[in-house]
């Protein structure tokens, strides 16, 4: 995920960068974070074709208001997420005009930032798996993938709403695409989203009622990975 943090105060930038880095590490999301002290430099970079999935903008900066930068970003065609940072809510109404994804009020609060990022990631294409069925492409949020099983040369993706999708790939290829710590290759034929495990013994029982096999010779290690994951309380 490519992220820009634009704030004229170094200490505020440091705090947001640390928060983002911690969040992305916890979620195993690859990321690059670019700092901007000046909003105009951000606009120039976007105009020159640089893309960010998410831009964090301080509302109140030295030379130009964050809200004006947001308007200019939209005017030059930026379609990614914009999140405002501020210690007053006076611009909250204006943020709708630039289709902001959120608003973080100071004091800085890591849990609030996590909540906002979870919502943004959940409703955007970040962390989605694309499946093509006939002429339609489905974009499935990682959080809705319960497990993927391999059958002969194809895979079946099981979604939380009960639907199933056929994927014409090897399970090892799907595993590479689902590169988040919540997904565990627990068996030659199964890749499971550990958020859906309800019981772990010689096999995994899932909250959907399905059962996923565990590789016989590595049962201990696999259960340990799951225990570590479950102890972190990671949400779907």
């Amino acid at each position: 995920m490519r992220i820009a943090v634009c704030d004229d105060n170094q200490l505020d930038r440091d705090i947001i960068k640390d928060f983002l880095h911690t969040y992305m590490t916890e979620k195993s999301i690859p990321n690059t974070i670019t700092e901007y002290e000046n909003g105009m430099n951000l606009i120039y970079d976007i105009e020159e074709g640089r893309y960010y999935d998410m831009v964090f903008l301080d509302i109140f900066m030295d030379q130009i208001l964050g809200m004006d930068i947001a308007r200019k970003l939209r005017n030059v065609g930026y379609t990614g997420n914009i999140v405002f940072l501020t210690s007053t809510a006076e611009f909250a109404v204006d943020s709708y005009e630039v289709e902001a994804s959120g608003y973080l009020l100071k004091p800085h609060d890591y849990e609030k930032l996590c909540g906002l990022l979870n919502r943004i990631i959940d409703r955007t294409n970040i962390g989605h798996f694309q499946v093509s069925v006939r002429n339609t492409i489905y974009s499935i949020p990682f959080g809705e993938i319960v497990y993927v099983e391999s059958r002969n040369n194809i895979c079946i993706l099981h979604r939380s709403d009960g639907s199933e999708y056929t994927i014409y790939k090897k399970l090892s290829e799907v595993e590479l695409q689902l590169n988040e710590s919540r997904f565990l290759r627990c068996h030659q034929s199964y890749l499971v989203n550990m958020s859906y495990i309800s019981k772990a013994d010689s096999q995994f029982e899932l909250t959907t009622g399905d059962v996923v096999l565990i590789r016989q010779r590595s049962q201990k290690e696999i259960r340990k990975i799951y225990q570590e994951f479950a102890s972190k309380g990671v949400k779907v």
Binding site: N9, Q10, L11, D12, D14, I15, D18, F19, T22, F60, D62, T86, S87, K106, P107, H108, D109, Y110, E111
Partner: protein, 116 residues
């Protein structure tokens, strides 16, 4: 001085600050950075020079940092000064600076007394 003792002096809830800013290591890093920057000096200078536009920006930045870093006692006059400058009221600015100055000096001294 421990970080918990530091936050007892700034009148903030230690646990709430740590929860907001992830852990003690992070908080100590931010406090050291705050100590090495001239946030209050810039505010003081701009009020002295009657440059109230700059003073408002400085006060606004300092307000955000006071809230984020848990400087509860100091945040109150800083918030009031910010609100007055926002409203274009400038006649009390010198009085606020006189109130904030010793509170800021305390914070800087306490940060210096924090054990590694």
């Amino acid at each position: 001085m421990t970080l918990r003792e530091f936050y007892a002096k700034t009148n903030a809830d230690y646990d709430a600050v740590i929860r907001r800013l992830i852990n003690e290591t992070m908080v100590l890093k931010y406090l050291n950075k705050f100590q090495n920057d001239a946030y209050f000096t810039q505010l003081q200078q701009s009020v002295r020079q009657k440059d109230y536009e700059t003073a408002y920006r400085c006060a606004h930045t300092l307000k955000g940092l006071c809230l984020s870093l848990g400087f509860e006692t100091m945040s109150k006059p800083v918030i009031e000064l910010t609100e007055e400058l926002r409203a274009g009221i400038t006649e009390n600015a010198d009085t606020y600076i006189a109130v904030i100055e010793p509170l800021y000096a305390d914070i800087i001294r306490w940060i210096g007394e924090l054990s590694e």
